[in-house]
Structures are given as C-alpha cells and as structure tokens.
C-alpha cells in the first residue's frame, strides 16, 4: 500500500482515523466493543456486516453525532466535531423531489458552507470557483444548472461525490453510496472516490453490504457481526474460516472470477 501525504496534515498526525478501545452500546445491546483501529491517510477501508451491526453508527461516531460508550476516537488528530472540515460524507442515493428548488451547483455549494450561519453573500467568487472545480472533477459541469430532482440517480450520485469533496476533506465517509445504482454508475462513483484517494491521499471509510464493486481498491476490511468484529486485508477477513467464526455458523466464501461470493451469512442473523 502506498500512502500519500494529505494536504494540510500536521506532523504529529500519522493517522486519519484512530479508535482506541471504542465501544458502543444502546441500552443492553452492545454494537461493538474493544475496537482498536488506525486508518492511514490514503487507505481504503471497507466496513462490512449485516444490517444492525453498527456500520452506519460508526460513521455517526466519526461525524460527531453519536458519542462512544467508552474508549476514544480521533479524526484527523482531533476528537470528532459536528461540521468538521476534515470529513466529507457521501450518502445513499435517494430519490429527490422533482420540484426541489436546488440546482446541481447549489447542492455542491451547500456541501461547502451550508452549515455556516448567514445568507452567504461574502466570498462568493471564491465559493463559485470551488464549486465549479468540484463539479468539473466529477464530470458534472454539463448539468451544473439543472434542477437536482430531474437528474438521474447516477448523475445525482456524481454530485454527491462533488458535494463531499468540495470542502477538501482528509477523510471521506461513504454510507452505501452504490446502493440502487446500476453497474455502470457504481463504477463511475467508485472511480471518482478512488481518484480522490490517489491524488489527495484522502482516507476512505466505505460502508457497504456488497464488497465486490470496491474489492480491487480495498486495503483493509472491518467486518462487524453481532458485537464481534475482524480487521484485516480482504485475503485475511474474507475467508470461510474468519467469517464462520464471526457469524458463529458455517459460512463459505467462494472466489468466482475475482468476485467473492459469501454463502450462509444471510441466514445467520
């Protein structure tokens, strides 16, 4: 794995995300505990696991929306804070209302400074330039002024990438961004994320229930199942032995033409 020094990184922060003895509980239920994790700048970490295993909740912790039950967490060297500039966030593709009064460029612009107070009259030229560059980087210049609600799912998801990257983050959190996209658009979004990681050394934490579309890019996998977890390279984690242990049942991992097929995990939770 090659790591590229991220822009604006301080000398003392060698990791993009650090978790130490982190645990998360809701009442009696433990989502995960004793989680130690270091994600390096430029690393691609896939976060896998069945529904309800706390994948999205982990992202919420990093976003500063959910405190840990115990342990510590650092993002880009500092504790998570709401609206942190260090983080870019790509959500699932969701249908937007057709008559939503936002253009593509507005959606991206909100990703830059939508959380700030005021009506945004200052620094308009600078803002416009950043939005333009972000739109260009994802190939969305052609529909910069189009209503977002009228764009296709794939086009909208390109904008989501631009919206997440316009603030120049050092950590990119992706919450199932490929869900409900066709294969061609899955590839486009994956390539855009990968391009960012290569050129800017942005760490990528990619929540997904389907590893194959990103398998060639994944450095390590964090696999969460019912409070247990396993961290390692895909070759270490995506094996029949490791997953059987996690799911506490017979799970088979088959390799078919560079794709992984996991059999038996669906019934186990």
């Amino acid at each position: 794995m090659t790591t590229v020094a991220p822009r604006g990184a301080r000398e003392e922060t060698a990791t993009a995300v650090t978790l130490r003895g982190a645990s998360l509980r809701f009442g009696e239920r433990t989502l995960w505990e004793g989680l130690d994790l270091d994600v390096s700048p430029g690393e691609f970490l896939a976060i896998l696991g069945p529904n309800g295993s706390g994948k999205t909740t982990l992202l919420r912790v990093l976003l500063g929306l959910q405190p840990l039950h115990s342990g510590s967490v650092l993002v880009d060297g500092t504790p998570p804070a709401r609206g942190s500039r260090a983080i870019g966030y790509i959500p699932q593709q969701k249908a937007l209302p057709e008559d939503l009064t936002l253009r593509a460029s507005d959606l991206v612009g909100l990703g830059l400074d939508g959380h700030r107070l005021g009506i945004g009259l200052r620094h308009r030229a600078e803002r416009r330039e950043k939005v333009r560059a972000a739109l260009e980087s994802v190939g969305a210049t052609r529909y910069a002024s189009a209503p977002v609600g009228r764009l296709s799912g794939g086009e909208q998801q390109r904008l989501r990438v631009a919206q997440a990257l316009v603030g120049d983050p050092s950590v990119l959190l992706c919450d199932e961004p490929l869900l409900s996209l066709d294969l061609a658009h899955q590839r486009v979004v994956t390539e855009l994320v990968e391009q960012r990681r290569r050129t800017a050394g942005t760490a990528v934490l990619f929540v997904t229930h389907e590893i194959n579309p990103v398998l060639p890019l994944v450095d390590r996998v964090l696999y969460l199942v019912n409070g247990r977890f396993r961290i390692g390279t895909p070759d270490e984690v995506m094996t029949s032995g490791a997953l059987s242990e996690l799911y506490r049942t017979e799970v088979d991992v088959l390799r078919v033409r560079n794709r992984l097929v996991v059999v038996g995990a669906e019934a186990a939770h």
Binding site: D99, T101, L102, L110, R116, L117, G118, L151, R160
Partner: protein
Amino acid sequence: MMDLLDRLFTLDGTGQLLGLPFVQSALVAAALLGLVAGVLAPLIVARGMAFAVHGTAELAFTGGAAALLIGVSVSVGAVVGAVFAGLVFGLLGLRQRERDSVIGVVLAFGLGLGVLMISLYDGRAANKFGLLTGSIVSVDSTNLWVLTAVVLVVLAILAVVYRPLLFASTDPDVALARGVPTRLLSPLFAVLIALTTAIAVPIVGAVIVLAVTVIPGAAAARVTANPLTATLLAVAFAELALLGGTVLSLAPGLPISGYVATIAFLCYVGCRLVGRARGQVRVG
C-alpha cells in the same frame, strides 16, 4: 349573473378609497405580509409543511376566538395560538406520517373549540367572521407597528439561519452529517411560520393562510430550481396576490380572502403551465 359579476369586479370609487388612511394601512400591512410570506414559502414547500401551516393557522384562529371571548386583544390570542401550534408541530414527529396525524388531531380539536368560542361570543358579528375570512379594517396603526416588528424579527432570524435552514430543508441527511443542528432548526422554523401565520390570520383569514404562505412557493418551484430566484418569485407572487386582492376587494366591499386566493391560484396554474411547456425539453 351579470349583476353578480358587476358586484364582484368593480373599481367604482376604488381611487377614492385608496386615499383613505385605513386603506393605506391595509396596503402597507399586505405588503409586509407578502414580503415575509414570500421569503418563507419556498422553505415551507421544500420541507413539505403545507399541512403544518394550515394547522397553525387554525390554531391561530382558536387563539383569536379565545381572546375575543375573554376580551383581550385578538392579535395576541392569534400569536399565542399559532406559536403553541408551531412548537407542538416543530417538536413532535419529525417523520412525515406521524407529523401529519398529529397535525390532523390538533387541527380538528382547535377548530372545533374555536367555533364553539365564536358561538359563545355576543359581540359584533364582523369580529367573528374576520378571523375566518380576514378583514382589512382589522389593521389599525397599533397593529401596523406590531406587524412591522414581527416581520423584522422573522426576517432578522432568517438572515442569520438562512443557509443552514435551506440545507436542512432541501438535503436533510447530508445537512445532519455536516453538523447542521436540524433538530434545533425544526422548532425554530415552526415558530417563524407561527409568527407569520399569526399576523396573516387577521388580514387574509385563517381559512386561506395557505394562499399566501404555500402557493407562492409551490408556484415558484414549478418554474425555477434556483433557490434565490424561487424566493424572489415567491415574494412577487405573494405581493401580487395580497396587494391585488386588497385593491380589488375595496369597491365591492367584500372580504379580501377570495380575491387573494384567486390571484395566488392563477399564479400557480400559470407556473405549472410554463413549467410543463419547458419540461418537454429535458434539462441536463
């Protein structure tokens, strides 16, 4: 039939009436209301809060009716009722389904209570109907100051929170992830709606507050996706409806609500037609 039309659409003496101080106060009030309603309308539409606005208006009516009955200022009663409703709707049920049923329940109860209190009131009948259908005579100089103050407060708050509010209204999931305090903004926005509704009820009446707080935004959204253009258009539509409605209602001496609602409705139909004609050419 022609008699009826003559009665509805006449400008006989309108010029003279426009010179009267109370008419001028009414026009200023209409202009102020149009400004604030137009600015809020696109956000109300984006948040899917038309029904909440209706519920708030009915509760403003209940508050006004209660004030009438116990003999205090109707405007104060309307503000209290509307802000109460706004807070309830803002705090309860962020999910659409739950919110809709809560609004339905509160609205029905408030409306029933309001009608009961109106029936118990022995004063002038004009006061009773004024709350439901609106009346420009209700605007005197004191009210005008209150109205100006409310409009300034609402616009000042909007100037501070506009960007995060737009973000939270149009793209709630990412706004939350970016640290926008969406849970705080919901009740705040509900209070802004409540204040606007409360000043709108005596002028246009509880029944058609939607005509000035929702229709302009819904109409603008059919023809533009630019948030700034949508806001400017919504203000223009709201002003057209309110000022036009006031002027048209003068000579016939009828409540302004019908005129305001009709102009707003025509704006909406016009925008839909324009939007549809343009929609043939796919954007992007």
